[in-house]
C-alpha cells in the first residue's frame, strides 16, 4: 500500500494503517455495529517484547548501556532507571554530585524528547489543522508555514541533545551513566557552555508556550474529545511536593485530587500496580492494583505529573502551572492537555538544568562508587519524558542477569490510550465513509500521549502501525496506510 493512501475496502470493514508520527508502529481497530456506529476501538501493539530476553545472561554492569538501546529517543531515561536498579544490586550509595549529574542528563532528555513530540510530531496538526492534507501535514509543512516555530523546535531539541553529548561524550546512547554514579565528572568548560545556552532555550520554550496558550481556544473540540475522562494519575514527586524526574517517591491521585498513595517507595511498585494481558496486544495493561482491572486505569507522563505535584519547583514554570490550573482546573482530564503540560515541562526542565549546574559542587570529582554484586535484586524507577519508568532485575551470584521486568510509560498509559481512541472514534467516525481528518484525529489522540512503542514492547527496532475499521460481522471495511 502506498503512503498516505486509504486502501482496501469491501462492504463490511475499514482499516487504517498505520498511525503515523508516533515512535514505532502499532494498529488501531475500530469495530462498527450494524448501524455503522462505533461499538469498540482498540489500540494494538503487535510486536513481541525483546529486550527483557536479550538482557538475560549479560553482566549487570552492562545493563545501563544495553537498556539504552531500547530507544533512540529516550535512551537516557532507560540508563537512569537501569543504573538505579544496578545501584541497588551493588548496594552502593551514589555520590551526591553523581545524583545531580544524572538529573541534569535526564532533564535534558525530557527537553529534547518533548521538543521532538511537540514541534515535529504534533505541531503539524496544531498549526496546519487536523483536516489539512496529509502530504503537507509534517515538519516540512510546519517549516513552510511557520519557520520560526520549526527553528525553535530544532533549537530546543538540539539544546537537550548537546547537553547529553557534552556530559556523555555522544548524543545517542552515551555510556556515561553507570552503576554507582557516572563515569566522568563535569568540567567547568562543559558547565559554562551549557549555562550559556540556557537563556536562548528558555526564550524559545516560553515563546512556544505563549503561542500555544493564545491558540488553545481554537482546539476546544479536540480538548473535549481527546481522551477526556476521569482516571487516576501516577508519578514521582520529591518530599517537597515538587516534580521529580530521576528520584522521588510514588504518588497516586484520583481524578478529583484525592491522594491514594503518597511517599511510597517506588521500588515496591508491585504493591500498587498490576499488569493485565489482553490477547489482541503484546503491550500489557497496567492498572492500579487496589481498584482492580480495568477500574484502576491511570495516566502517567506530563499531564499526570502536573496533576500530582504540588508545584513544579522553579518560579517561571510554577507561574505557568498556576495559569494552567486557573484555565483548565486543578486536575484537567483531557489527554489533549498533554501538549500544554509538555511545554510547561520544557520550561521547568530548562530552569532546573540551570539551577543544578549553578551549584558549585556540581564540579566535584567523586562521581562514582564502585562495588561488586551485593544483592540479587534491584529496582530502579525514574520519570521518562512519557512517564514513570521501572527497571527491575534479578542476577545470579556472579552478577549475570537472570530476569528482567520493564514497566514503560507507554504501557502505563495503555488503558487510557485505548479508552481515548474509543472516545475519539465514537465522536468522529460514523460508518465506513470516513474522511482523512477524522482518521487523523484518531491518530492525533494517540500522538498526544507520545507513545514510544519501541520502548513499550522492548522490541528491537521499530514497528509499523495500522488502523482498521471492522464491520459488525468482523469483516474489514477499510484500511488506511501512511
Amino acid at each position: 500500500m502506498s503512503k498516505g493512501a486509504t486502501s482496501e475496502h469491501n462492504n463490511s470493514e475499514i482499516v487504517i494503517e498505520p498511525v503515523t508520527r508516533i515512535e514505532g508502529h502499532a494498529k488501531i481497530t475500530i469495530q462498527l455495529d450494524d448501524a455503522g456506529e462505533v461499538a469498540d476501538a482498540r489500540f494494538h501493539v503487535t510486536q513481541v517484547r525483546g529486550f527483557e530476553r536479550i538482557a538475560q545472561g549479560r553482566p549487570v554492569h552492562e545493563m545501563p548501556s544495553l537498556m539504552a538501546r531500547i530507544c533512540g529517543i529516550c535512551p537516557v531515561s532507560h540508563m537512569v532507571a537501569s543504573a538505579k536498579a544496578c545501584d541497588e544490586i551493588l548496594g552502593v550509595s551514589v555520590p551526591p554530585v553523581a545524583v545531580l549529574l544524572r538529573r541534569v542528563m535526564n532533564l535534558a532528555q525530557v527537553v529534547q524528547s518533548h521538543a521532538l513530540n511537540f514541534f515535529h510530531l504534533s505541531s503539524p496538526d496544531l498549526l496546519l489543522g487536523f483536516d489539512s492534507p496529509p502530504a503537507n501535514r509534517n515538519i516540512l509543512g510546519v517549516a513552510d508555514s511557520a519557520p520560526e516555530l520549526a527553528r525553535d523546535g530544532i533549537a530546543l531539541r538540539r539544546f537537550g541533545q548537546q547537553i547529553i553529548e557534552r556530559l556523555g561524550g555522544r548524543r545517542i546512547h552515551p555510556a556515561w551513566i553507570v552503576p554507582g554514579g557516572v563515569s566522568a565528572p563535569l568540567e567547568a568548560s562543559q558547565r559554562d557552555a551549557i549555562l550559556a545556552e540556557v537563556p536562548d532555550a528558555r526564550a524559545r520554550a516560553v515563546r512556544t508556550l505563549r503561542w500555544f496558550k493564545e491558540n488553545l481556544a481554537s482546539w476546544a473540540e479536540e480538548v473535549a474529545r481527546f481522551g477526556n475522562f476521569p482516571t487516576l494519575y501516577l508519578g514521582l514527586v520529591h518530599e517537597t511536593g515538587n516534580a521529580a524526574y530521576s528520584d522521588g517517591a510514588l504518588r497516586v491521585v484520583d481524578a478529583r485530587g484525592k491522594v491514594l498513595v503518597d511517599g511510597a517507595d517506588p521500588r515496591l511498585y508491585w504493591d500498587y500496580l498490576g499488569e493485565a494481558v489482553e490477547p489482541w496486544s503484546y503491550l500489557k495493561f497496567p492498572y492500579f492494583l487496589p481498584l482492580g482491572y480495568p477500574e484502576g486505569i491511570y495516566r502517567v507522563g506530563p499531564l499526570a505529573r502536573l496533576n500530582i505535584v504540588d508545584q513544579l519547583g522553579t518560579p517561571e514554570a510554577d507561574t505557568e502551572l498556576d495559569e494552567y490550573r486557573a484555565r483548565l482546573g486543578r486536575y484537567p482530564s483531557s489527554s489533549f492537555h498533554y501538549h500544554y503540560a509538555r511545554l510547561i515541562e520544557i520550561v521547568h526542565c530548562v530552569d532546573m538544568i540551570e539551577e543544578i549546574l549553578s551549584d558549585p559542587s556540581i564540579l566535584d570529582h567523586h562521581v562514582r562508587a564502585k562495588a561488586a554484586v551485593n544483592r540479587s535484586e534491584g529496582v530502579g524507577v525514574s520519570e521518562a519524558p512519557r512517564g514513570t519508568l521501572v527497571h527491575h532485575y534479578r542476577v545470579d551470584e556472579d552478577g549475570l542477569v537472570e530476569w528482567v521486568n520493564l514497566m514503560i510509560a507507554t504501557g502505563h498509559n495503555n488503558l487510557a490510550m485505548n479508552r481515548s481512541v474509543l472516545q475519539v472514534a465514537r465522536h468522529y467516525i460514523k460508518g465506513e465513509q470516513v474522511k482523512e481528518g477524522m482518521f487523523n484525529r484518531v491518530e492525533g489522540v494517540i500522538r498526544a500521549f507520545d507513545p514510544c512503542l519501541s520502548c513499550s514492547t522492548h522490541a528491537v527496532g521499530q514497528m509499523p502501525l495500522q488502523l482498521d475499521i471492522v464491520g459488525a460481522d468482523g469483516a474489514m471495511l477499510r484500511q488506511v496506510v501512511r
Partner: protein
C-alpha cells in the same frame, strides 16, 4: 544490536581514523533527527552512509546522489527523518543548499545480534573508499574549489529504521515532487517572533 544494520557505524569509525579532521566531520548517529539540519546547513556536501534492506545482494555497495532536496519531503514524518528530509529541512529553515549523497550497502541479516556478516564486513572499506572518493572529487572540482570554505560532512546513520528510511528516500529520488506548498486550511495563526 541489529546485525548488518551496524554497517554505518563501522564505516564512520573507519573514516574517523582515516580522514583528517580538517577534511570532514564524521558523525555516527543512531537515527537522523531534525536538529541534524543545523549541522548539515553549515556544510556544502553531506554523505550519508547506511545499510539498505532493499533486496540487493549482501555487501553490495552503491552510491547515489540525492539531488535537489527542495520539495522532496512530503511524506509522513516519524521520530526520524530520511536523508533527503534532513537536506530539505536544512534548505527550508536555514537557506542552505548542501549537496547530498547516499552510500549504502545491501544487508544479509538484521536479526538481533552484534557484528556484521562477512560480506557486509568486507564492504566497510569499500564504502569508506567511496566516501573518500566523493570528497576528493568534490574538492577537486572547480566549482567546489571556489566555494569549499568549509569541509564536507560525513553523516553516518545506523539503525534498522533509519536504514530503511534512508534508502526509501533515495529510491524515491526519481519520483515527481509532491506539491509541498499545497497547504491545508489553517486553523490557528502562526507564531510570531517577539
Amino acid at each position: 544490536l541489529r546485525g548488518d544494520d551496524g554497517f554505518g557505524q563501522e564505516v564512520a569509525a573507519l573514516l574517523s581514523e582515516e580522514l583528517p579532521a580538517s577534511t570532514a566531520t564524521v558523525l555516527s548517529l543512531h537515527q537522523l533527527t531534525p536538529e541534524l539540519a543545523v549541522e548539515v546547513a553549515e556544510h556544502q556536501l553531506v554523505v550519508f552512509v547506511d545499510a539498505a534492506c532493499d533486496g540487493r545482494r549482501g555487501g553490495s555497495v552503491s552510491v547515489e546522489w540525492l539531488g535537489t532536496p527542495k520539495g522532496q519531503l512530503a511524506s509522513s514524518f516519524w521520530h526520524f527523518l530520511t536523508a533527503r528530509g534532513v537536506l530539505a529541512l536544512a534548505g527550508e529553515l536555514y537557506g542552505a543548499q548542501p549537496r547530498g549523497a547516499l552510500v549504502s550497502v545491501g544487508v544479509e541479516t538484521t536479526d538481533p545480534g552484534t557484528g556484521l556478516s562477512p560480506s557486509v564486513k568486507a564492504a566497510v572499506p569499500v564504502a569508506a573508499q567511496a566516501v573518500t572518493d566523493i570528497l576528493r572529487e568534490a574538492a577537486s572540482a572547480r566549482s567546489w574549489a571556489a566555494t569549499a570554505a568549509t569541509a564536507a560532512t560525513v553523516a553516518t546513520a545506523a539503525t534498522a529504521a533509519t536504514g530503511v528510511s534512508a534508502v526509501t528516500g533515495a529510491s524515491q529520488a526519481g519520483r515527481p515532487a509532491a506539491p509541498r506548498r499545497a497547504k491545508g486550511k489553517r486553523k490557528v495563526k502562526c507564531p510570531t517572533q517577539s
